[in-house]
């Protein structure tokens, strides 16, 4: 029996690998892979269920079992193309439209205002570029300096296309100045894009007020609500465009949406089969959309309860980390998403903190230059004007619905030790 399994595993591998050369190379590589201690350790961690503590929920979240269950039939039994006329197609279209309605409800929107996309990166691109195509004579954009790269880099690209972009400063907590925003709006301004809650530091923006200013001045308001949607109630009466991504709320990766308020001028940036009322072509990711609706159902259903619990963890983190000398909170103590807390530790570097915590099975992230592919510190931390060396020692802890009080306690047990260990290594001693 065992032999049969081994043989079939080997056959699977050779089939998957196809060419002989590949097979040989892979066989030669296999022992290296197995003797690689890091791989072995993570393998054993999984096998022996060494307690893994995932505190990087603003990067992505685990797909909830309910969500998996809701999606499953749409990979196998109900695989029809939602554009097809036969029963297969009609059934998936029906399920997809039901999901659209459910999601629209969570935004107090109508189903026709929901455009499904491949995620928030695409939704942000569609909002900005799509609005620009629809109003070609408006050639000025306003965003904050702490927008996600999918907004920031889109606007930087728009600059190369002859657009002018105003990058609003933020204060030390990450808030924009509303008077400055008001003053920046001109006749030729197309759109203002300010994220609802920041993904690195959690700071919230007053989207109702920002939207009201935009209304008054007759410009469009887009908000990237990726981190806020499903976490807090969103007052979007004055929002014209809003982006959501499923994988931040226990849904699958690769699916998101753009809410487009009725009568908002918007042209497609992806051309093809005229799906999504011609605003986004491409066969809809039906399992993903079903999953996003299930994730929204889940998140909205338990919103208050989860928010209260995670808010408690955040308070505890802020209080106990403040007791470690040479630390600071980056962001705002209260005007913040409850699932994100960002700290800086003097004299040590974030990537090494992440690696040390990982040894204890704790997953967090950092905005340190050393951890980024271009060796630049996080643009968000730089915009807060915190000293570069403090940006270097930043750590983002982001909780999720599955986070437990015990996990927070474990983090708080190891974190001071890790900080101490690295400070011993560092030439910069704190408090000497």
């Amino acid at each position: 029996m065992l032999l049969r399994i081994l043989i079939s595993a080997y056959q699977c591998q050779s089939v998957a690998l196809g060419r002989r050369g590949d097979l040989r190379r892979s066989v030669m590589r296999t022992p290296v892979h197995l003797t690689n201690r890091t791989n072995l350790v993570s393998f054993l961690q999984v096998i022996y269920m060494m307690k893994q503590i995932y505190l990087d929920n603003s990067a992505t979240t685990a797909v909830a079992p309910e969500v998996m269950e809701a999606m499953a039939p749409f990979f196998s039994a109900e695989y029809g193309n939602a554009s097809s006329l036969h029963g297969f197609g009609l059934r998936t279209r029906h399920a997809m439209e039901k999901s659209r309605e459910e999601i629209a409800d969570t935004l107090q929107a109508s189903p026709a205002e929901i455009v499904f996309t491949s995620g928030a990166t695409e939704a942000n691109n569609l909002a900005i570029q799509g609005a620009a195509r629809a109003r070609p004579n408006r050639r000025h954009l306003i965003i904050s300096k702490i927008e996600h790269h999918s907004v920031l880099h889109t606007c930087q690209w728009m600059e190369t296309q002859g657009y002018e972009v105003t990058y609003l400063d933020v204060d030390r907590s990450g808030a924009i100045d509303l008077d400055e925003l008001r003053g920046a709006i001109r006749d030729e301004t197309l759109l203002v894009s300010i994220m609802a809650g920041n993904n690195e530091i959690g700071t919230l923006a007053p989207i109702s007020e920002i939207g009201a200013i935009c209304r008054e001045k007759g410009v469009l308001f887009h908000t990237d609500a990726v981190q806020a949607y499903g976490k807090i109630p969103l007052p979007i009466e004055t929002v014209d465009l809003l982006s959501v991504s499923a994988h931040k709320l226990s849904g699958p990766k690769g699916v998101g949406l753009l809410f487009v308020r009725k009568k908002t001028p918007l042209l497609s940036i992806v051309h093809g089969g005229e799906h999504e009322q011609g605003r986004r072509s491409g066969t809809e990711n039906v399992p993903g959309i079903i999953g996003m609706a299930a994730a929204a159902r889940l998140s909205f259903g338990e919103m208050e309860e989860t928010a209260a619990r995670l808010r408690g963890y955040r308070k505890q983190l802020i209080a106990e980390i403040a007791a470690i000398p040479g630390t600071q909170l980056n962001g705002h103590e209260t005007e913040s998403l409850h699932h994100i807390a960002n700290f800086s530790f003097q004299g040590i570097e974030g990537e090494s903190m992440v690696m040390k915590l990982d040894e204890h099975g704790i997953a967090v992230s950092t905005g340190s230059a050393c951890s980024s592919p271009n060796l630049e510190p996080s643009h968000v931390l730089v915009a807060l004007r915190i000293p570069l060396a403090m940006a270097h020692g930043s750590l983002r802890i982001s909780t999720g619905r599955q986070t437990t009080a015990e996990e927070i306690d474990t983090l708080l047990k190891f974190l001071p030790r890790v900080v101490e260990e690295l400070r011993v290594i560092s030439p910069f001693k704190v408090g000497e």
Binding site: T38, G347, E349, M355, E359, L388, A389, V424, P427, K429
Partner: protein, 163 residues
């Protein structure tokens, strides 16, 4: 992303800390991402009367790769004659660790530079002749340290302890 050797040195760094009784320090900063390393050496004569690095230690503010390369290069340099230590390259240090990700190669330069600076400081203090390669590298490194200090002006702790 990192080899086991890197992780091993990161977890259990060798020669870490400050030497009580050192002959010279090399202080370097890496302008690419703003990491800092201080390297202490104790120079003594061996039985043949050659000057060797009898003891070595370091303190590093930097990433996993910077800490691991600090550890590795101190191991390589320990017991070497000054001439042999000058000849240590960052490539050699990286190879000793089973390689580094390309984006992290510059971290290994930090350790090689610190060693260079410590030996430079030792020879300069003793009023000895500086080998041209050491002097050339010293010029480049000094410029980089100034650039780093500019960038880190807002970090008071760094300034205080650096002076």
């Amino acid at each position: 992303m990192y080899t086991d050797k890197v992780i091993e040195h990161f977890r259990h760094p060798h020669n870490m800390g400050k030497l009580d009784d050192y002959s010279a320090i090399g202080k370097v900063g890496n302008i690419v991402c703003g990491d800092v390393m201080w390297l202490y050496i104790k120079v003594e004569k061996d039985e043949q009367g050659r000057e060797i690095i009898a003891d070595i230690s370091w303190e590093t503010f930097g990433c996993t790769a910077a800490i691991a390369t600090s550890s590795m290069s101190s191991e390589i340099a320990k017991g070497k004659t000054l001439d042999a230590a000058i000849a240590i390259t960052n490539r050699e240090v990286a190879e000793g660790l089973g390689g580094l990700p390309p984006v992290k190669m510059h971290c290994s330069a930090l350790a090689a530079d610190a060693l260079n600076e410590a030996i430079y400081a030792y020879l300069a203090e003793a009023g000895r002749e500086i080998p041209p390669i050491l002097a050339r590298r010293h010029d480049r490194i000094s410029k980089e340290v100034i650039a780093l200090e500019e960038r880190y002006r807002a970090f008071p702790e760094a300034e205080e302890s650096a002076t």
